[in-house]
């Protein structure tokens, strides 16, 4: 039986770890290397690192930091942020990171995905979809850390990404991110209903019940968590933590 995956999703900014709320107000959490060491000890399933500044600021991925992270990481590792071409993706794989998460670049250059999967396989690419409600409450696809809006619906974009060859999809609700309110189950379900690749639900997880909802009601294969694994609890201080294996296995 394949286990569901519970994945800390960690945000990078200027070589430090930060946490946002609805993609805004990044607060400093700590040193990424120390955090990885703690997650190693806790035996987490997988880690995702997203650089929240790389795409909007048109920066290169921080290869030096990523190499240090990969050195410490004895679990599968994904990185997203600022990947615009195959050469950058190659450097990231050479460092020892097994997956790249592609978001902003896919909107202008969908071909990048097939260029990467042709060499590294579909399992090496996560297609990232950020979704945000507009003033009329309609959920729109956004990119570049939610600074750019796109016309197509989340479902349309998910299907495009799968057609382009992504091995899984990370769906993030910008409106839920950092809120501790639970993931957008309906949005997750809309995507899991129409794609045949694993879907990672992200944004809003505050407790184990939220993980269960994303899996059981949303149909997700995995759930990514941010605030819950870096804060003691809502509105409390930093504490890197992870639910016990026994609790997760009961979901």
């Amino acid at each position: 039986m394949l286990l569901k995956r519970y994945i800390p999703c960690l945000l990078l900014k200027n070589s430090g770890l930060v946490k946002t709320v609805k993609f805004k107000n990044p607060k400093y959490i700590g040193d990424p290397i120390n955090t990885v060491r703690i997650f190693n000890e806790k035996g987490v399933d997988e880690l995702i690192f997203l650089d929240i500044e790389a795409s909007p600021q048109k920066q290169e991925p921080n290869y030096k930091l990523l190499a240090e992270i990969a050195d410490e990481c004895f679990m599968p590792l994904a990185y997203g942020g600022g990947i615009r071409n195959i050469e950058q993706a190659k450097r990231i794989f050479q460092i020892g990171i097994e997956k790249v998460a592609i978001n902003s670049s896919a909107h202008s250059n969908l071909k990048l995905i097939s260029e990467i999967t042709a060499i590294y396989g579909s399992q090496a690419v996560i297609g990232v979809i950020d979704v945000k409600k507009n003033l009329f409450g309609k959920q729109e696809v956004v990119s570049n850390s939610a600074t750019v809006k796109h016309k197509y619906s989340p479902e349309e974009w998910a299907q495009e990404l799968v057609k382009a060859g992504v091995g899984e999809i990370l769906i993030t609700s910008v409106d839920k991110e950092g809120t501790w309110e639970g993931v957008d189950v309906a949005l997750t379900k809309r995507i899991t209903d129409i794609v045949n690749v694993p879907v990672i639900a992200h944004g809003g997880v505050g407790n184990v019940e939220h993980l269960r909802q994303a899996i059981k009601d949303g149909g997700a294969s995995a759930v990514a968590m941010g605030s819950m694994v870096v804060y003691q609890k809502k509105d409390f201080g930093v504490l890197v933590n992870f639910p016990d294996k026994e609790i997760l296995e009961k979901i």
Binding site: L3, G43, Q94
Partner: protein, 203 residues
Amino acid sequence: MITIIDYGMGNLGSVQNMLKRIGTLSVVTSDINEIEKAEKILLPGVGAFDAAVKKIDELNLRTVLKYKALEQKVPFLGICLGMQLLTRRSEEGVLKGLNFVDAQTVKFNFGNDASLKIPHMGWNFVKENKQSELTKGFTPDYRFYFVHSYKVVCDKSESSILRTNYGGEFDSAIQNGNIFGAQFHPEKSHKYGIHLLTNFSKI
């Protein structure tokens, strides 16, 4: 000292890092002379079967690998695609595998069952099929990280040391004497992977 074969398929950083962590020296090379001197060989690999076979043949590594594995009988471990390369053929391609273990590589086929995704990706359990030095000390809660779309089927059950269930059981670790294969990624399976690579380093 473990010699990691570098034939340009997939990342070698994490394997090296984990070996460093368990205190085993390793060298990464594609040089025939260096491979000839190897005490132990680790064949990693991520990607497509034919692309890997082509690279191995372009680098003229087939003969030296065969000599080390089948004649000198040094401990030899293939990981992921590296394990599939130990078989005689794969449904993923048309080129010949190394044929070090009596087995073949076939595609996962779940018919119309949409609940089982391909690739088989994530953490899954392993069940002992046959005792082996590679898996000594494993307990039933042991799990590993898998990413693959093709699976290995051994001709005889005795070549299979671990089995894993994903829409039916498949051979997740194999052995032919000094030659071992692991379908999962020990280098990405923290304490469980450290255990397996420590076992391999002691063989």
